[in-house]
């Protein structure tokens, strides 16, 4: 078991009080698993990803434990996390296009980055070149400035950098969102290739685009308003979702092959709740057509079927 997260709760400190961005989350990511993390904006997916690697203000650690390869991660302590970052757990940030130092050539920047982790650039060079080849970049990029590269090239370069020290866990935050469909497909397939080649052991891919996850992920975790809603293997989530939010979310996605004139899709009425003073109980309650009295209590996130986790009172049935 690579990553185990137990009851992780993270809030944001604001002048008006705490924003309950991530509430008591418990899940696992197995070896060689690519877990997709999806949800609407503001559902806490980026908060979850970042809290595993850089939990810094205004983020506030409230509680919970994280273990990676049977080793506890001191995520609440910025300093103590340092030895783990980049080596054991690594991140491809959102807007990776702007993640590189514009005043350094790529090669020089990589050198500095490795030196900060006491790794020799020269000995890593053959491996670095092999990885560049993997993402279809030529060695020449090491002599280029970031401004000389296109968005897709920069994205691929950052992918190589993030995984250079073979981390156990790679967190990829919206890596494909800003790219055109063709580059999107190439980058997404490269992520899978990285996992297959052992450049990282397991991966959390954060995106709002469920159809991308269907292509590359093994399992998909759906979040809503700071709470985990459902996790299952991708085929199960798409074909037989159990949580009412997942069902509706998947039904709203327009597909090639669906036309307004033939089949009108419906959105989910209402909007997500504000997380400054979130409603008690299940946070989807107000928009949920199935809600009943029990929903004022927070439903636990439990295994409904084998490998299929969900948090909905209606779905527990006799198991509850």
């Amino acid at each position: 078991m690579t990553l185990q997260v137990k009851n992780l709760t993270v809030y944001y400190q604001t002048l008006r009080g705490d924003v309950h961005a991530l509430e008591s989350s418990t899940f696992k990511v197995g070896n060689h698993e690519i877990m997709g993390l999806a949800g609407e904006s503001g559902c806490g997916k980026t908060t979850l990803g970042h809290s595993l690697i850089t939990l810094k203000p205004p983020m506030k650690y409230i509680g919970g434990r994280v273990t990676l390869d049977d080793e506890e991660l001191p995520i609440q302590d910025m300093g103590e996390m340092d030895p783990f970052r980049f080596k054991k757990i690594s991140l491809i940030p959102q807007y990776a296009m702007n993640a590189m130092n514009p005043t350094r050539k790529i090669g020089k920047m990589t050198d500095e980055l490795l030196r900060s982790r006491n790794v020799d650039f020269k000995t890593m060079l053959p491996e670095l070149k092999r990885r560049l080849d993997l993402v279809k970049l030529s060695d020449n990029v090491l002599d280029m400035y970031p401004i000389e590269m296109s968005g897709g090239m920069k994205q691929r370069m950052v992918m190589v950098l993030s995984t250079l020290l073979d981390p156990s866990l790679l967190i990829a935050d919206e890596v494909t969102s800003a790219l055109d469909v063709a580059s999107q497909k190439a980058v997404a397939e490269m992520l899978v290739e990285f996992r297959n080649q052992g450049c990282c052991k397991s991966m959390i891919v954060i995106t709002h685009d469920i159809s991308i996850l269907y292509q590359i992920a093994d399992t998909i975790l759906i979040m809503y308003a700071g709470q985990l809603a459902e996790k299952a293997p991708k085929d199960v989530i798409i074909s037989v979702p159990r949580h009412p939010y997942t069902k509706r979310l998947i039904a709203t996605l327009p597909e090639v092959g669906v036309r307004y004139a033939e089949k009108q899709l419906a959105g989910i009425p209402g909007g997500p709740p504000l997380l400054l003073n979130p409603p008690i109980g299940c946070r989807f309650r107000e928009r949920c057509p199935l809600a009943f009295e029990k929903c004022v209590e927070v439903p636990p996130f439990i295994e409904i079927e084998e490998n299929h986790f969900g948090a909905c009172w209606k779905e527990f049935g006799s198991n509850a």
Binding site: E40, Q215, L253, G267, I268
Partner: protein
């Protein structure tokens, strides 16, 4: 309703603007009454530039735009204002379309001052309420609020309502739902389709093929400012002819089908002096003939493609 004839836009680039970048290259198409046309393309395909030229926000390098039989290319002052009564645009980011210091309904009072100064309060309120209801908003819930008190979907619908206040016949919708959440975006999309039945023509600009398919009657596939394929949406999606369209279709992530394994050629070699097909550098089927620009040829009824391979 709207005809574009050989429309081009050349941006000056380089240190002293010495080089020209053909953002839009000789595009001709027309949009009929009650028609939704989607412009589909990747970034840099010139799709937004076309929308901005129709709205006269960007100057036109060559070609003409004819609206209801009148050339509007050189409209200025009062004539241009009159044109805006008929043609309006809504853009991608609803959050930056508002001034955060003022209440969101300021966009309506500006319209009133500019276009309807003679209207009385009660008449105006009736008009405003009608148009808000047309976009599915409850006036009591949304008026008199600041932009940050409204959601992205509400703000976007506000902007559409603003366009409807005028006697709008033509709407340019530039990526209007890409900033919205999955659960609310489909409502805005359905709203556009409903507006069509009220007699509006819409130019729907998007990079998302599935959205284009969902809503439009006619589609144009653009690549680097040139039309690659054009025609009835249904025909293009059922039978994509151009290699670029085929590549796009294969790359769209879908929920009912896994990606096929194939190597995508990402490098876009584009020597400035090269005068052939713009897709030449990436096209796996390129032949010698492709070093000449292929014309847009009618392949079947209501279906055109610009590719030598296809027209053979």
């Amino acid at each position: 309703m709207l005809k574009l004839n050989g429309l081009s836009k050349i941006y000056r680039v380089g240190t002293f603007g010495g080089k020209g970048l053909h953002a839009v290259n000789n595009i001709t198409f027309d949009i009929g009454d009650n028609e939704i046309v989607s412009l589909i393309g990747e970034s840099g395909s010139g799709k937004s530039t076309i929308g901005k030229m129709i709205l006269r926000l960007v100057s036109i390098s060559s070609g003409s735009i004819v609206f209801n039989g009148v050339d509007i290319t050189t409209y200025k002052g009062a004539a241009l204002k009159e044109y805006y009564r008929n043609v309006q645009g809504v853009f991608q980011d609803p959050f930056s379309s508002y001034n955060p210091i003022f209440k969101a309904d300021r966009i309506f009072s500006i319209i009133r001052e500019e276009f309807f100064p003679e209207l009385g309060d009660s008449e105006w309120n009736k008009k405003l309420n009608n148009s808000l209801e047309a976009v599915g908003l409850n006036p009591e819930h949304v008026l008199n609020k600041f932009p940050h008190q409204l959601s992205g979907g509400q703000l976007q619908r506000f902007l559409i309502a603003r366009a409807l206040l005028l006697d709008t016949h033509f709407l340019v919708a530039d990526e209007i739902i890409s900033m919205l959440d999955a659960s609310t975006r489909i409502d805005v999309l359905n709203l556009l389709a409903n507006l069509k039945s009220r007699g509006l023509s819409i130019l729907f600009i998007t990079h998302d093929l599935s959205l284009g398919y969902y809503i439009s009657d006619k589609s144009l596939i653009l690549y680097r400012g040139c039309v690659m394929e054009m025609g009835s949406t249904w025909k293009i999606y059922k039978n994509p002819l151009h290699p670029y369209t085929k590549m796009l279709m294969a790359s769209v992530p879908r929920l009912d089908r896994k990606w096929e394994e194939e190597n995508l050629d990402l490098e876009t070699i584009s020597p400035e002096s090269f005068n052939g097909c713009v897709y030449y550098g990436r096209c796996p089927f390129a032949i010698d003939k492709c070093q000449e620009v292929p014309p847009l040829i009618k392949i079947e009824e209501d279906h055109f493609a610009a590719c030598w391979k296809v027209s053979e």
